[in-house]
């Protein structure tokens, strides 16, 4: 039986994982998780710097008359790769933006989730909550009688007015290495070995995703 590693998280992710592979993993996780995952500001910064340097080199080489035919082909490959990396960065940023807008009101009232956002994302969330509230106010609420013109109803038998991430939705997890035992909602436990793929609810594996022991697929 594989040893279960507990306590301080050992380096589960191999060190030779490139920044792009890291981002791809975070991008996939972000797309499949119902909640907003911690922002990867440093990683994103590294990649964007790298992209900028590459683009500069490409510009320089393209302008250089001594660049050979074969090198031009390589330049095209590099440029294509740059576009592809940008696509992933863009999709990653937009996925987060979509969730931020969806949960904007929740974010403004919850300090814990704010720690997972970048400053720019936090600003966007509060701006978004504000313009949405304003739209509701001008379109509907201001015309209603005074007693009805508030947005924060807590009527019984009605779903709450503020959308929160639903962490009970099912996700596919792929174990990146042998994982400690987890307890499923029905009380049974599951021990995933490396490479194991399982369908389970997000809150069961949430901590494994955070530690990078599993990825969402």
């Amino acid at each position: 039986m594989p040893a279960i590693r507990r306590g301080s998280p050992p380096p589960f992710i191999p060190d030779d994982e490139t920044p792009l592979e890291k981002l791809t993993r975070h991008w996939m996780n972000e797309r499949h998780a119902p909640d907003i995952l911690p922002a990867q500001e440093d990683l994103l910064g590294t990649l964007l710097d790298h992209l900028r340097r590459q683009s500069e080199v490409v510009q320089l080489l393209r302008g250089d008359p001594s660049t050979s035919e074969e090198e031009h082909i390589r330049i095209v490959l590099v440029q294509t790769e740059i576009e592809r990396v940008k696509f992933i960065v863009r999709s990653y940023v937009r996925t987060r933006l979509f969730k931020i807008e969806k949960y904007a009101r929740f974010i403004t009232t919850n300090a814990e989730i704010q720690t997972r956002l970048t400053a720019a994302e936090r600003d966007h969330a509060s701006r978004h909550a504000k313009i949405t509230d304003r739209h509701f106010h001008f379109s509907v609420l201001q015309s209603l009688p005074e007693t009805q013109s508030h947005l924060d109803d807590t009527a019984i038998f009605m779903p709450p007015m503020i959308t929160e991430p639903d962490n009970s939705i099912p996700v596919f997890v792929h174990a990146l290495q042998n994982c400690p035992k987890i307890t499923l909602p029905d009380g049974t436990s599951l021990e995933m070995e490396k490479g194991h793929i399982s369908l389970t609810s997000y809150n069961v594996v949430q901590h494994l995703v955070a530690r990078g022991e599993v990825e969402l697929v």
Binding site: E83, R84, K86, L144
Partner: protein, 198 residues
Amino acid sequence: MTDARQYGELATQLILEARRSTQTDTLLKYNDGLVRSLIREQRDLERAAESLMTENTAPPPALLIIQTAINRNKRCLLAYHSHRVDRLRDMYWAVGGALPHILTNQDIRSKLSPHEVDYLRSYNSSVMEFRAEFSHELDITAGITHPPKDLHVMVRVVRDCGVIQTELGSIDFKKGQRFMVRRADIEHLIVQGYLEEV
């Protein structure tokens, strides 16, 4: 209006409209008339509720019905508007954040309420502010539906779009011409329907 109408019937119509819009994936015209009648109903209900609230006696059961109707109507009204702004945001991203492109389109414009136009404007400035956080290398409003396969693309000009800066220098796109250009330079023009991929 007939007397036989039940509480909440108008609200149901509004929700049905939102659902139809989702199912057919089209933006329907803002139903100002229905929204107004609902707001009138809310005022009538409020008055009815007030008349039932008396100082000394326990509230009559009818009050509960009226309060439920008020809550439901209000929720439906908000759901309708929320559905619409969701659609508007989808539309906004589908054209790569080109707001003038939406607002100058008479067909779309006629379906929006004035408040929705305001909403789109403030949403646009919020997104622009967020976009400014990234270097000019990366335009986060560009498409995210298809990963790029080729660097260059052959396009046909469908509508004149004036002089555009590309990596080959500036090109004056005139209707009917064809160009081989870098995708990243002109992708927004494809999205907005000025150019067509060949």
